[in-house]
Point group: C2
Chain length 354, copies 2
Amino acid sequence: MAEKKASAEIAVNERAQHLLKVLIERYIQDGEPVGSRTLSRDSGLDLSPATIRNVMADLEDLGLVASPHTSAGRIPTVSGYRMFVDSLVTLKPLEREKLQQLESGLYTKADPKILVESASSLLSSLTHMAGLVMIPRRKQLTFRQIEFLPLSAKRVLTILVTTEGEVHNRVIELRKAYTPSQLVQFANMLTENYSGASMEEMHRRLVREMEQARADMNQIMAQALEIAEQAIDGDIGSDDYVVAGQTNLMEFNDFSQMNKLRELFDSFTQKNEILHLLDESMLAEGVQIFIGEESGYRPFDQCSLVTSSYQVDSQVAGVLGVVGPTRMAYDQVIPIVDITAKLLSMAMQSDKES
Amino acid sequence: MAEKKASAEIAVNERAQHLLKVLIERYIQDGEPVGSRTLSRDSGLDLSPATIRNVMADLEDLGLVASPHTSAGRIPTVSGYRMFVDSLVTLKPLEREKLQQLESGLYTKADPKILVESASSLLSSLTHMAGLVMIPRRKQLTFRQIEFLPLSAKRVLTILVTTEGEVHNRVIELRKAYTPSQLVQFANMLTENYSGASMEEMHRRLVREMEQARADMNQIMAQALEIAEQAIDGDIGSDDYVVAGQTNLMEFNDFSQMNKLRELFDSFTQKNEILHLLDESMLAEGVQIFIGEESGYRPFDQCSLVTSSYQVDSQVAGVLGVVGPTRMAYDQVIPIVDITAKLLSMAMQSDKES
DNA sequence: TTTAGCACTCTCCATAGCGGAGTGCTAAAC
DNA sequence: GTTTAGCACTCCGCTATGGAGAGTGCTAAA
C-alpha cells in the first residue's frame, strides 16, 4: 500500500491521467476552467465531484493543472499540456476532405517557392492558425549554374541557379573592371567546375582553390573565384520562411493583451528568432511540439508551436508547422502538420525528376 | 450684412474655419471630443464658450463636425478633415533629425528592391504608422536581356533582366522539347532584338511579329517569340508593394474593434484592392490624401491614406505612402511622405548612371 | 452679435448586492 | 481507506444605483 501511494505521488495513477486528459480536452474545447462537477459528468468514470476534487488537488500539487482563482475550475499548465501531447492525446485521423485539400494543393509543381507558399497557406487554412514553412537552407542547395551580367563598369549582377530551379541574384561591386566577354568566360569556367556541388561545398572549394590559383599564378582563375566567392557569400545560410494566416491569431489571444499579440506579429517580421526556433526542430524526426514558454522565446509565451521537418532526397531540407494558442486542438493539428510535411516532402522530391 | 450672412451659410466664415482648425488639431492631439470650453481657451480668439457653441452648431449643420453623443464635445467628420487638409493645415517642416534619417536611408544603392524596402520602413518608423511603397510597374520597366535554362525536357527556367537590374524568373512549360543550344540561340535572338524596349512595348511587338514570322515560315523565330511571350506574360502588370510597420496600427484603432483591425491586416496580405487604390493616386502629382470612407474601400473606413507618387527618369514610376488612423498628425505626415517620395525619386534616378 | 445662466443629458466611476459556480474541509458511508 | 455528502467560504460577473463631471441647447439679457 505504501508502495502504491509512493508511486502515485511520483507518476500520477491511471485514473488521474484519464481525468487530466478529459479536463484538457474539455478546456481546449471551450476555453473555460473546468470544474469538478463537469468532469464528474463527462469523464465516464462515475465518480462524484468530491472525489474529482481530491484528484484535482493532487494534480495541482504535481503542477499539471492550476486554477486561475479560488473558485474557478482548473486549467492545464504547461507541464499538463506536455504530458497530454506526449502520452495522453488520441490523434484524430485527418478528415478525407482536408486530406484532399492538401493533396490537391501540393501536387508536384515546378517552383519550390510556390510549393512552400501553398504549404504555408494550407496549414493556416486547415488549422485556422498561422502556418509557417521554412525555405530549404541554401547550404543544402546544389549549385547548377552562374551568370554574370554587367550593369556598369564595376557593378555586376550575378545570377545563381540551383539544381532545384531556384534563382538567386544579387549585385556585387568589383574591385576592377572586366569586359563582358571576360565575365562570360568566368561564368562558364565556374559553371563547369562546380556544377553539382552543394553551396557549402562550393564555398569550401572556392576558398581552397583560390589560394592554389594564386600560387599557380593563374590570374584568370583566381579572379573568377574571387568574384564567385563574393556572389555566393551572401546567399549562403540566409534561411528564410513564409508565414500565412497570421491574422487568424487575432481570434484567439483573448483580444485582451494587444501588446502580446503585437509582439507576436513583430516577431514574424523580424524572423531571426523564429528561424532559430525552427532550426532547433530540424534535428528531430517527426512532429515536435513547443508549448508556451518551452520555446524559450518571449513572444511565444502564450502560444504553442507544432512543427515537423520535411525531406528532400531523404535528407532533412526544412521545417514547417503552425503557431497557435497553447489551447489548440492538438489531436487535429498534429496529424495535419505531420501529413503536410510528408506531402511536401513528396512534392519536392518528385520535383527532382529533371 | 445680408451678403455676409449668405456667404457664411455656404462657405463657412473665417472665424469658423479657424475654430475648425483648432478643434481638429486638438482632437488629433488627444483623441477626445473637444468641447466649447477648451476651444474658447485655446483658440486665441477671446470668445466665450457660448459663442463657440453657436459656431459649433453651424459647423455641425454643415457636416464638418459631429458629436458622439449629446453631452460630449465635437469631433471632425470626414468632410471636416477634408477641409482641414485641403486648406487649413499648416505643415510642419520636417525635423532635421528625421530628414537626416531619410537621407541616410535612401542614398543611392544598387538594388531598387532594397531602396523600396528602406523607403517603406523609413515611412513607418518616422510616422509610427504603416508605410507602403509600390514597386515600379513592370510595364514601365525596360527589357535588357533574357536567358533560358533547361530544367527538364519541356520545362525551362526563364530569367529576365531589366535595365534597372531587376531580375524576374519563372518556370514555363514548353509544348515541345528544344535542345539547350536552340534555347541559347532563341535567347540571343530575343535579347538582340528587344533590348531597350519597355515591357509593354515588347509585349506588343512580340504579338505582332509572331504573326509575321509565321507568315514568313520563319519557324525558329516564331518559336522563340512564342516562348518569350510565355515568359513575360506573367510578369507584366503584376505590380506589387511592400508594407512595413503594420503592427504600429495596433496602437490605434482603439483596440476595441479587433475585427476592423483584422480586416485591415488581411487587406495588406491580399494586396489587389490596395494596389487598385495606389493605382488611383499614381495619376495625380504631389501628395494625395484619402480620408476614411473616401477610399471607397471598406477596411479603410477608419483609416487615412497619405500618398505621393515618385518618379524615375521624370516619369511616374510608383506610389508610396502611409496608412494610419483618420486622426493622424497630417501636418507632420504630409511633409514626410512628400520628401520621402522626392528622395526616393532621386535615389532611383541616379541609380540609372549605368 | 455676444454672453451669462440654467436645465438637461449623457458618460464614467465607484459602490453595493446578489446569484452562480466551484472549492476545501470534515465527517459519515461503503 | 477510498468515496461521498454536506457545508461554509470565496470569487466572479451582473445589475442597479447614485453622484460627479463635462458639455450641450436654449433663452434672455447685455
